[in-house]
């Protein structure tokens, strides 16, 4: 479903992403794990077509995001970091706009909006303007926007960041409920999230993939059998290596 091929991104002299390749198939939830500044968001922005890659590309359902951006974007649902939304719009108004942009009209448009509201449990706030919502609700509105068109690929950048434990639980439930019929890519710097929802994970540091495997395989890499120890071991050595390089 998603095939990432040698993605690279330079911002001037900073090389944020260096030659990242991986694939996600339908039914999989791939976690992208890494410390802040590792290049997770930059990678996702290239996959979703917001940033053009310096080199490499991503193929979504057979469409190249660089060559055929419109066809590829139709297959993607994207929840950007910090869930950006138009603050002055109502929840319903915003989702109706997204349904229009996704090409739905008339009864189908209304049905899509209603089903997104229902799936993301937004009934209570449907007529409220987005600026009056709590962080948890905002996250869910942005999530609703991402799944409204039933995308084959769902890309989420730190979907549970800044939520309280109950809200995190709700978001994870929603992700799991959709797992079987989609390919899902989630970035996070929270390790428990990988164990809670992902079927497979890659760890990136300093723009490179430094480990890949199921949560169980990754845990086996450290004698303690704990993911946070593995993460620290791997990301620390990656950071030290690049210091030596420079």
């Amino acid at each position: 479903m998603l095939d990432v091929q040698h993605l690279q991104k330079k911002f001037g002299l900073i090389e944020a992403v260096r030659d990242i390749s991986f694939a996600v198939t339908k039914g999989e939830i791939l976690g992208v794990l890494g410390p802040n500044g590792a290049g997770k968001s930059t990678t996702m922005r290239m996959i979703t077509g917001f940033l053009p890659p310096t080199s490499g590309t991503a193929i979504i359902g057979g469409y190249d995001i660089v060559e055929q951006p419109l066809q590829a974007k139709r297959l993607i649902g994207y929840l950007p970091e910090n869930a950006p939304l138009y603050p002055e719009m109502t929840v319903r108004g915003f989702l109706d706009f997204v349904a229009g942009i996704r090409g739905y009209r008339g009864a189908e448009r209304r049905r899509r909006v209603e089903s997104a509201i229902e799936r993301c449990r937004l009934e209570k706030v449907r007529h409220q303007t987005i600026e009056t919502l709590s962080k948890g609700y905002r996250q869910r509105v942005c999530f609703a926007q991402a799944v409204l068109h039933d995308p084959q690929l769902l890309v989420m950048d730190e979907p549970t960041d800044g939520l309280d434990p109950n809200q995190k639980h709700v978001v994870r439930e929603m992700i799991r409920s959709m797992a079987s019929e989609k390919a899902i890519l989630i970035s996070t710097h929270i390790l428990e999230e990988v164990e809670a929802v992902c079927t497979r994970a890659i760890i990136i540091a300093d723009g490179r993939i430094i480990a890949e495997g199921t949560p169980a395989e990754l845990k086996a890499r450290h004698p303690s059998g704990r993911l946070d120890e593995v993460f620290r071991m791997l990301t620390r050595s990656a950071a030290e290596q690049t210091v030596v390089h420079r």
Binding site: F11, F50, P80, I101
Partner: protein, 248 residues
């Protein structure tokens, strides 16, 4: 590129409604009407206290628009950049051109509404005197085209920054140049030291000669072409700015 695709229409509707989702739009429209009315009836009358003439009414549009069009356009892209919604917008299956046109049409339609809502002033003047209908329509067409040129400039400058105030000020400076470059009092001063070819080259960039010829009720193809060129150039500039932000 199509001037109004389905996506452009959706973005147009969202942007146009966004004006009315806060009371600011109503304040804006009332203020626009009051400012034009005040300038027409009090300031102009103060100098020319003879008869009712729409010349003074249309005289003020370039200056009032100079102050108020940038206020109506300053948030268009800068706010998308500041809040990060640009990332949503540009990962939807829309092209940058479609999004850009949707915003431009929305802001221009809003300014057209503001312009048309000044008609009570025209009615008042018709009562007092006997103005020529052709001149009224020509004057309004000129005012709307002028607003279109300013709006395109404002859309462009709003893409340059995340800060609405900077976006406003830069738009005002560019529009001021477009207004002053061909304004007779300024041209007279410049004429004293600059070669005449330079004066006419700079003046040809100005909105003023084109604005004034439409006010006389003469719709000249070249005037319309002028406004269309300013709009296309400014929007193309905006496109390049946004494209560069992405690739930077």
């Amino acid at each position: 590129m199509r001037l109004c695709s389905a996506n452009t229409w959706e973005i147009f509707k969202r942007e146009f409604r966004a004006y009315f989702e806060s009371p600011v739009a109503y304040v804006f429209l009332v203020f626009y009407l009051m400012l034009i009315g005040f300038l027409t009836f009090f300031v102009s009358r103060f100098y020319e206290a003879n008869q009712a003439d729409l010349k003074y009414f249309f005289f003020w549009f370039p200056w009032v628009n100079l102050l108020l069009v940038p206020a109506a356009t300053m948030r268009l892209w800068s706010e998308e950049r500041r809040t990060g919604t640009m990332e949503l917008l540009l990962t939807f299956p829309v092209t940058l051109g479609e999004a850009l046109l949707g915003k431009f049409w929305a802001a221009w339609t809003f300014m057209t509404l503001a312009t048309i809502l000044t008609f009570p002033i025209v009615i008042t003047t018709m009562w007092l005197g006997d103005p020529d209908l052709g001149a009224i329509l020509g004057g309004y067409l000129g005012a709307i085209l002028l607003a279109g040129a300013y709006v395109a400039v404002g859309v462009w400058t709003s893409a340059m920054t995340r800060n609405q105030v900077i976006s406003y000020v830069v738009a005002l400076v560019v529009c001021l140049f477009l207004a002053l470059a061909g304004w007779p009092p300024v041209m007279d001063i410049v004429n004293r030291w600059a070669p005449s070819w330079l004066v006419s080259a700079v003046a040809s960039l100005s909105v003023m000669p084109h604005y004034e010829s439409l006010q006389r009720g003469v719709v000249d193809f070249r005037d319309v072409l002028y406004y269309a060129s300013v709009i296309v150039l400014a929007l193309f500039g905006c496109y390049l700015v946004l494209e560069n932000r992405r690739t930077a």
